[in-house]
Symmetry: C2
Amino acid sequence: MIRLLLAEDQGMMRGALALLLGLEPDFEIVAQVGAGDEIVPRALETRPDVALLDIELPGRSGLDAAAALREALPACQVLILTTFGRPGYLRRAMEAGAAGFLVKDGPVEELAVAVRRVLAGERVIDPGLAAAALSAGPNPLTPRERDVLSAAVDGATVADIAAKVHLSPATVRNYLSSAIGKTQTRNRMEAVRAARQNGWL
Amino acid sequence: MIRLLLAEDQGMMRGALALLLGLEPDFEIVAQVGAGDEIVPRALETRPDVALLDIELPGRSGLDAAAALREALPACQVLILTTFGRPGYLRRAMEAGAAGFLVKDGPVEELAVAVRRVLAGERVIDPGLAAAALSAGPNPLTPRERDVLSAAVDGATVADIAAKVHLSPATVRNYLSSAIGKTQTRNRMEAVRAARQNGWL
DNA sequence: GCCCGGCCGGGACAAATGTCACGGGCCACG
DNA sequence: CGTGGCCCGTGACATTTGTCCCGGCCGGGC
């Protein structure tokens, strides 16, 4: 019996996947969670063989949780299952010790075979995505630039950002400017868009 | 036998739902599509009793397709299934003649019962969402304001927008300003965010 | 008919934004 | 020990953005 943990915030998706995987005769869903900060505790309780994690989760990112899970329960393999095939996500997933990376496009059948492969010690990664991740190069943004850029989503003014990050407005503008330069964009919104696109959040 | 059409762009979600609904003894999935502009043609071919439509689809919005489908095939009931419970979406769905509106949170079991209810002539709508839709009021934006605001996503400059919408830059700024006023926000990004939030895109 | 509202444009102005040059402090690496 | 990178801040500057005027052209409704 292969013991599975499933982390996914969308209730319908979670339920459908659980039902689906439960149909496989040798699979058993031992835990379903809808928030990132429940992953590690539930895993410690239920000792799954494979954890299927979404990335965008309330509470804690699936990538964060993946790293923590590898630490706390090395026997458990991590398979990332995400909507967005962003190069930076894949890179971070690998750095976090994930054994596989699937996007939610692709057919459902992929899922079960991926689980089995991962358990067999293989790594499963979309080849095209791997190429994109390599060609995109590593994250050029410094930690501070990331902070400022993250705080700049949904139209915050410089003053808002400065307050949120506890910096001088002047400094914020400098970081924004350098981030805009590094992303080769023309303004802050394009910069956040580009950074998100690449998974450099 | 209840004949179903399923429109959803995410392959995994589509596959999982199809499998799930196929499990019901009296359901039959007669068509699966991944793009909005395939909905009506496929429906005319396959004559489903109920169409399950996502809203955000490539090619054509599910809401658009819903209206066209009600026109072309009045016997077919429309059930909107979406990630975002935006008040304006619900409103537009109702205006398009949809019989039900479900969000992808909530448990999977809801889905089958919703299909049966819709077929029985009932309307299925989340009560909380209905209240929100009523309290939010109708879309205050004029068509042009919508155009300009839509073109303002991901950091386009005034010149970009003017070129995209074939207007003078001065006019664009006026529309942006009035849209900002109507959404009670401080800049264009907050305005697009607010407008999207309410489903006024 | 007249008025109202949406459409389209212009001009002028304050504020916000993006850029550049410049300082100093800190830590790591050769 | 120097050098380079990141951190944090300042000041000045041109550009962009948001706002408030103004004008005119339509079409629908009382």
